[in-house]
Symmetry: C2
Subunit: 286 residues, 2 copies
């Protein structure tokens, strides 16, 4: 497995592959890999000739006061797991080569970036779309793989690809969950044993909400209130619970056929997110 440290090395690697007529599957991550990332790499391996894993804790998507400095980093561990996942190369650049000074250009997906996680994390998605756009350009990847856990991110990146005419194909894969249903996340490392148990209530509240909806409930505020109560009872501090339409991210009052529920909650100082897409049929009587 090749370790690429600079944009120039990445360009050379990807051009060499495309010159042979082979395809590249891109898996952008911030490292500290978990089972979710492994599922992305495995799918990328199945659909492309070569898999490029990127490991970069991207400063532009952290606000001052967030966990940029403390975010878990362990390239040695990531290399080992990337090998297991079937990656052919890891791109792990230094921040100063990614953002040479004076750095001034940003990609922003308006509207979608200002709701949900974008309320608390104001410039977060601007940082995400900028780094992802840069990775698309450097790698000329044929397909790019993201986890559904970051639901809002996946919708925003889909919109960016469409709007800016990137040629890459987007693949969004299901959430991988640990025992008890906690969504895999590098930030789970921050949790104590007791907090992990509390955090499981996020998934449980989603399951309970789905049950209630499939049982006929269509009032979004009722579902939201139920989840909020459940999370508070477990000792979590709720950032948001959104019941919305899956393409536009617009909140809904009445739950329709393709509704998602997204949650962000603090467990101690750790902010966790999770979501569920709930498909109802037309046949339920409102």
């Amino acid at each position: 497995m090749k370790l690429l440290r600079t944009p120039a090395e990445l360009i050379k690697w990807s051009e060499n592959i495309h010159r042979k007529g082979l395809t590249i599957g891109l898996v952008p991550t911030m490292g500290y890999l978990h089972e979710g990332h492994l599922s992305l790499m495995k799918r990328a391996k199945a659909e492309n000739d070569k898999v490029l894993l990127t490991v970069f804790v991207n400063p532009s998507q952290f606000a001052p006061g967030e966990d940029y400095r403390s975010y878990p980093r362990n390239l040695k561990r990531d290399k080992r797991l990337a090998g297991q996942g079937g990656a052919d190369a890891i791109y792990a650049p230094k921040a100063r080569t990614v953002y040479p000074l004076p750095y001034r250009t940003y990609i922003n997906v308006e509207e979608l970036s200002g709701v949900m996680c974008g309320v608390r994390r104001e410039s977060h998605f601007k940082g995400v779309t900028t780094i992802v756009g840069k990775l698309f350009n450097l790698s000329s990847a044929d397909r790019a793989y993201f986890g559904r856990k970051d639901f809002q991110q996946s919708v925003i990146i889909g919109q960016m690809i469409r709007d800016l005419d990137f040629k890459v194909k987007l693949r969004v894969l299901p959430i991988v969950r640990a025992r008890g249903g906690l969504a895999e996340s590098s930030r789970n490392k921050y949790l104590t044993g007791r907090q992990r148990k509390q955090a499981i209530s996020i998934y449980q509240s989603l399951r309970e909400a789905r049950k209630v909806i499939l049982g006929g409930e269509r009032r979004a505020d009722r579902v939201r209130d139920q989840i909020t109560r459940r999370l508070k009872k477990a000792g979590l501090s709720v950032d948001y619970v959104t019941v919305g339409e899956a393409k536009s991210l617009d909140s809904v009052k009445v739950i329709g056929k393709n509704t998602y529920i997204a949650i962000a909650a603090f467990c101690g100082k750790t902010r966790l997110i999770d979501n569920m897409l709930i498909k109802t049929t037309r046949h339920i009587i409102l």
Copy 2:
């Protein structure tokens, strides 16, 4: 010469060319071609296997109240001139295929887009960088050609290419001037015979400024005042006169080795821009 009307047609055309190992030179324009555009096409032809001219009056770079609707359009004329310039294809899409609804993604080059023309035309450069980024992605052009007349634009696009890791190579070509020195511009069509004569004072004021600087003047405010007086005397309404550093666009107080002077002025209702790069030597005594 091929006429391409949709993003899909453009992708097909460019992929076909790259599959053969040939190169593409991109000349993005808003049409109503003039000698400046022709010089870009000729250079593109000399440096690439194929030349792609794009003709698109881009709505996102016009503010409400600007001349989006009245901007001169004549595709038949453009086709003829494109043929003379050696273009192999013209991409002339409809606005709704370029910005399918809901359209939400913009590229913005911060700082550089907010000065000079960006003061009066607040979201202008955001529209420019967005459409140019889209054209880079659709065409996968090897080189892109812009005129130095839009000096600020060329600096902003250079920054965007560097920051977002676009692989295209930027070529910025000298201003082409009509008789008397008026910089070629599609908007010159708006001018009456009398206004054309007035407008020539823009170039004359730049020449006079250069003369004064080469004669030893280093105080930017003196140079600026001289130009402003000259333009007013000719009956123009000055939008800005900037004396600045050519890479950062920062205004300077003392004129250095690589200084540009940029002017925007209204001749009647027509807003005209022009600029000059002035290289001094170290040997002049301050």
